[in-house]
Amino acid sequence: MKKTIIPIGPYHPLQEEPEFFMLTVEGETVVDVDVQIGYNHRGIEKLSELKSFDQSTFVIERICGICSTSHPFAYTRAVEDIEGVEVPMRAKYIRTIIAEGERIHSHLLWLGLAGHFLGYNTVYMWVWKLREEILDVMEIISGNRNNYAMFKPGGVRRDINPEDIPLIMKKLDKIVPTLKMLFKAVRDDPVIHARTKGIGVLTKEASINFGALGPTSRASGVARDVRKDTVYGAYHEMDWDMIVTNNGDVFDKVVVRILEMFESVKIIKYCLLHLPDGEIDLKIKNIPPGEGIGTHEAPRGETFHYVRSDGSNSPVRHKVRAPTFMNLPTYKATIKGEKIADASIILAAIDPCYCCTERMSIRDTKGERLFNGKELIRLSQIKTQTLKQKLGVKETSLEKLVQGKP
């Protein structure tokens, strides 16, 4: 059968951001996919290295408009890791509240878009209306609907006013019944079942092999969640469930995200009711030389930040790895053999966020890509070797960690 190439992108109504999927199709069946990113490079890491540690938090917040708390959370944890300090308990609780509020709004946003991709615009509009409630909650706490500017190395910038708590509780109570209705609608609608069940299946093995993160991996039966696996924030203070399902199809990814929102509401409520007294900020004066790693379970999976300090007031190196970077390659496993009609929802199912993920790509004037992945890895290795020789380092601590040496 003749193979045709169906381009999705770089500009397509399906996408909010520029990225390019080249679907090779035979008739209506997708036989291969090539994902090309690199249209959106903004040099955030470099910008962060030019700012002070405190200012960087604001830059990092603007990596992504949706997970605008996940990146600062991971970044502040990395900076605190350099210094080896623990933030006050009240700050931890407030951080947790903000992070979970963001999870609800992010999952709702995705759910609406998923409806839109399936041609179900009523769901799209209803869900986004519901999202307003949680954005109101965030506005009450931080004064902003997005980009909350709540985080700083060593604590949080603003305290939660005790007078606001009843209003926040009321708003949260308003969300739950509508969420329940949505969950029932998804669970019982035969047409949604027909469009999502058994579509874009990511098996447990494939999920582990590709290193998928977050809801994408939890829908495939991989019980991995930074909030459970590491002790940070206030997550270990209370009882909540990690949602894991086993089928790995689009339907399970929807279900995981909806159920996670109930857990998030639970966590926020607990935090608000048990908010400890005390300081909200350590008032860190200077950052010692060293390197630190910070992680956080963003709505899309684990966000990873690496920060290196030389004792000055700005990071020498700041590396960001967004969860979408790990989830993108799973397309190779999920989309092959599916119909073009299902491609859009499968591409959307990992809840991709390209502005978090984007790194540069090198192209000639005709738009052809000059370096492929292998060449880039080789270049990177050469650079590391030269740097090590220049610095006289034999083996970095990270390399030891990778090789399993103590």
């Binding site: 409806g115 041609g119 009523t122 509009m125 469009r195 119909k339």
Partner: protein, 312 residues
């Protein structure tokens, strides 16, 4: 004088211009009700007219690699055929335009807009348009079968009369088989209109409006008018065949408007409470569920006719 009057009927009222205006108003109703269902405000009353006028003033861009002649002709074929259907249906109560077999002509002409879409999509030389055209072909094959069985059932019940004048005299909604075939035709109309859940050929988030992708300016506006004409003509066709026809005097006119609004709102509600299905699922739905249901209705009608049971 008679010819002049008929000319006025055909061109102005209740013919071509009236139908276009009501069609565009219907598309406003569609957009407004959809918006209200989705917690939005919706467009102002004249928005569909603004859209058409705006598109008419825009540049027409013809694709280089496509067949230009067919690309320009396709929207006109669809527009002309649906206009003829609209005029035939609207003029029937006023002038004795009904001739033997006009039902066949109408059913035939009703498929032409879809065929025009296929021709236009294929002529534009765009892979996504070709994809949309191929989906439209499959969709036509899917819904025409139950659609024709349901129409045949009505013809059978009317004693093998194939003219609209006879069919419009009776309402079939008092019988079980009539209601079933009405529902089947309603679903087929949904597919003919290209509305969710059967907007497979256009599928904005999958193939970027499919066959329409290369169309711009006046040609696109012709397609838009064709669509809104269908939004008016198909319910009128359903009323004529299933629901006692249309009359233009006294309370009958009001009754016609109510029937029309009921069908229109049913279509809009179906549109807003479903996600889009895949083409293979649509095929399965029409050839499996709908066709079987249509055959059952036919059997019921035959039983009712043979044994004289009125409600079957």
């Amino acid at each position: 004088m008679d010819i002049l009057l008929t000319g006025v009927y055909v061109v102005f009222f209740p013919g071509f211009f009236t139908v276009v205006i009501i069609g565009l108003l219907s598309s406003w109703v569609d957009r407004k009700v959809t918006a209200r269902v989705q917690y939005r405000k919706g467009p102002p009353l004249l928005q569909p007219f603004y859209d058409v006028v705006k598109l008419l003033g825009k540049e027409t861009i013809l694709p280089k690699q496509g067949s230009r002649f067919m690309f320009i002709l396709a929207p006109l074929i669809g527009f002309v055929s649906i206009s003829i259907v609209a005029v035939i249906l609207m003029l029937r109560p006023l002038v004795a335009t009904s001739f033997v077999g006009d039902l066949i002509v109408v059913v035939y002409l009703l498929t032409l807009p879809s065929l025009a879409l296929i021709i236009g999509g294929a002529a534009s030389g765009n892979p996504l348009a070709a994809q949309g055209a191929s989906r439209e072909i499959k969709l036509i094959l899917a819904y025409e079968l139950p659609f024709l069985i349901a129409i045949a059932l009505i013809v059978y019940k009317a004693g093998f009369k194939i003219d609209l004048q006879t069919l419009s005299a009776t309402s079939e909604l008092g019988t079980v088989s009539g209601i079933i075939s009405f529902i089947i035709v309603l679903l087929c109309v949904q597919a003919k209109l290209g509305f969710v859940p059967f907007d497979i050929a256009e599928a904005e988030t999958e193939i970027m409006s499919g066959p329409y992708i290369e169309y711009s300016g006046p040609l696109l506006s012709v397609f838009k008018i064709t669509q809104s004409l269908m939004l008016f003509t198909l319910p009128v066709f359903m009323i004529t065949v299933f629901w006692g026809g249309i009359q233009f005097h006294g309370w009958e006119l009001l009754w016609f408007v109510i029937k029309y609004v009921v069908i229109l709102v049913l279509i809009i509600v179906i549109k807003n409470t479903n996600p889009r299905v895949r083409i293979d699922q649509a095929l399965k739905f029409f050839w499996g569920f709908c066709t079987v249901l249509a055959i059952i209705a036919f059997v019921l009608a035959v039983i009712g006719n043979t044994y004289g049971i009125a409600w079957l």
